[in-house]
């Protein structure tokens, strides 16, 4: 079996520049192929083209051809042959898992008995038989990812495409998924995985293709990763990144007062449906950066919500800057705290970038629009948003929207910054840009920072201490070296299989 893409170009409707230019690639059965590229490199566009979404579903101008065993894909042959797992793994069609998985079979006119048989079979293969009767919205991120992949595979397609499949997963789950994909590939399928970092590429995959600005700039065997990575700084491997810089704030150890910025005492919060946090005791000293790591569902977000009063402690206490967080209204507490959430689209609602930033300051300070406008000018300029400030936030890329969200956070000069997965879906260049902006802009006020992340590199490079949260309990707290180099702790926190953690631990032993 052979997939070949020949001089493929694509331009989105209403856009001047092409998203893809003259793409040529070939893949044969049994291959696990990585498509590596930064934000906006054209990975998703290329996968969507191969999947046949253009121009029927996504409008634009397409040229060139995509052949499977010499036959043209798409075109007159309407039924799609491929499995495609979208980057937006939280998007699904039906309420129940079983309905979701059987839908492609219903569309091909299988009989109910046959559908049931097929669904049972594939559920046994992927060990998800117990999920079939569940509701989609009760699944964890990892479970939903598997269901999506099973749905893509139910009609036994020769090719499986996955767009950023590791984004929702903790490092160990990502590693498990890669092993699974490898076994699927070994059965003779073509698997193409789009990623934005070299992190997993070196240990898996037969081949990689590097995309930048819609063009293939290199194509090689995966083993040559480190050589390739210098070509594409936006996709640098964490190991390579860690060699180049470690960007902690210089004055981060300076303590301006003895009082803790955040202090929790025996904090408990349980959800009725299970899960939550228990007996959390931690302190954050002024000027410190604390990273919180742990598997999906360990209670990281639950813990964060207590710092801003969105959840009230059921037992124990949370003191934030001398105030009991459970007793102060959220908007009042928010005046000295800035939170950067993982998805900027959850909050952006103004029709202009500058308005969004000014609104934030005005709302926090209850000052006049003019005063807020004047105060926001420096931050807009410093973050490089001046040129685009009159545009609609949704007409710029998502990494810019994350920068806008950062600007709204920094505009009020908070003394406590809370970052929830700040660099999710950002490539290495955008990550370091965001983090260095954050650190340089906030230097004057030197805020304390709490950062939730899955990314061990981010923790290693930017934090003073790491707290590990597992099953709602605080497992350990210490310097990044103490935590990340400890094999037992990282195994429990489902971090041990991350390439960067492996590297740190190997280096420690050597």
């Amino acid at each position: 079996m052979k997939l070949s893409v020949e001089s493929l170009s694509f331009r989105y409707i209403g856009k001047k520049e092409a998203a893809l230019t003259d793409i040529n690639l070939e893949a044969t059965g049994g291959e696990l192929l990585f498509l590596v590229g930064g934000n906006g490199s054209g990975k998703t566009t290329l996968l969507s083209c191969i999947a046949g979404l253009m121009p029927d579903i996504i409008e634009g101008e397409i040229s060139g051809q995509i052949l499977l065993n010499g036959d043209k894909l798409g075109g007159s042959n309407k039924s799609p042959l491929l499995g495609f797992v979208l980057q937006e793994a939280e998007v699904y069609l039906f309420p129940r898992v079983e309905e979701e998985i059987s839908f492609p079979l219903q569309n091909s006119g299988f009989s109910p008995a046959e559908i049931e048989k097929r669904v049972q079979e594939i559920a046994d293969v992927f060990d998800i038989a117990d999920l079939l009767g569940r509701e989609m919205n009760t699944l964890s991120g990892g479970e939903r990812q598997i269901v999506t992949i099973v749905t893509a595979l139910i009609k036994d397609p020769p090719i499986l495409l996955l767009d950023e499949p590791f984004e929702q997963l903790d490092p160990d789950a990502a590693d498990n998924l890669l092993k699974l994909l490898q076994t699927i590939a070994d059965k003779g399928k073509i698997i193409i995985i789009a990623v934005r970092s070299f992190d997993y590429v070196s240990s898996y995959g037969n081949r990689l293709i590097i995309l930048r600005n819609g063009k293939i700039i290199a194509s090689d065997s995966a083993l040559a990763t480190h050589k390739q990575s210098s070509l594409v700084p936006e996709c640098l491997h964490s190991i390579a990144l860690s060699a180049s810089h470690r960007l902690k704030r210089e004055n981060s150890t300076v303590t301006t007062g003895n009082r803790d910025v955040v202090c929790t005492r025996d904090l408990c919060y349980k959800y009725i449906q299970g899960g939550g946090i228990q007996d959390i005791n931690l302190q954050l000293t002024p000027g410190e950066t604390l990273a919180i790591m742990g598997p999906n569902g360990a209670g990281k977000t639950t813990l964060l919500k207590h710092f801003i009063g969105l959840l009230k402690a059921q037992k124990g206490m949370v003191i934030v800057m001398g105030q009991d967080a459970a007793k102060v209204p959220v908007p009042v507490l928010a005046q000295n705290i800035g939170i950067l959430f993982q998805n900027p689209d959850d909050q952006i609602f103004n029709e202009r970038i500058d308005k969004e930033i000014i609104w934030s300051l005005k709302t926090k300070r209850h000052c006049s629009w003019e005063k807020a406008t004047a105060e926001c000018q420096p931050i807009i300029e410093n973050l490089g948003l001046k040129k685009i400030q009159k545009l609609h936030p949704h007409s710029v890329s998502r990494s810019y929207r994350q920068l806008i969200a950062l600007a709204t956070v920094l505009s009020s000069q908070p003394s406590l910054l809370i970052l929830d997965e700040p660099c999710k879906s950002l490539d290495a260049t955008h990550t370091s840009q965001l983090m260095s902006n954050l650190l340089s802009q906030s230097c004057g006020i030197n805020p304390s920072i709490i950062m939730v992340t899955h990314d061990p590199y981010l923790t290693w490079a930017y934090s003073d201490r790491v707290a590990l949260l597992v099953n709602g309990r605080l497992l350990a707290i210490g310097t990044p070296e103490e935590i990340l180099c400890n094999q037992e702790l990282t195994t429990q926190a489902r971090l041990s299989k991350h390439p960067f953690v492996k590297f740190l631990q190997n280096r420690g032993q050597a």
Binding site: D56, H392, H394
Partner: protein, 185 residues
Amino acid sequence: MKKTFILTLIPVAIVINIVGGMLAGALKLPIFLDSIGTMLSAVLLGPWLGALTGLLSNVFQGLLTDPVSIPFGLVNAVIGIVVGFLAKSRGFTDYVTPLLAGLILAILAPIIGAPIAVYLFGGVTGGGIDILYAMFMHQDMGIFTSAFLARIPANLLDKLLSAYLIMFIVRKLPPTMQGYGVKLS
């Protein structure tokens, strides 16, 4: 617009109807705001698909919780038609169009809603409107006239506010999502 996208946009608009109403309740606003999605669908997809959205919204919500509300889908459909035609002819970002939409709907919605309400509920709603309804009937106005007149003030407030809210929402949407909302000059 592509058919599959229309097919996924209609259920989303129905859910916006529900969520919009829930949010109005959560913020303790004095209006229902339960046809935001229908209006939005009409602005994006035009009057007929807007009407379909409104109708299906009541039918499907009715199947889930309260089947008796299904006949009022006709009112919701008319909201879609009126907003859709207005958006198609004048856009939906100026200050006049929501005024027109609000005024037209304040009359049209009760014209269709009142007979259904009289047939099913004897004109009674279980809310504050009933006082007005009783007063009109006490003046010997006839059941239908009373039910119609009693509904106008609340509808005027609700539809005017909803229409202006939709205008502000359409203004804030990304250009690619504004549909007929922006008049091309």
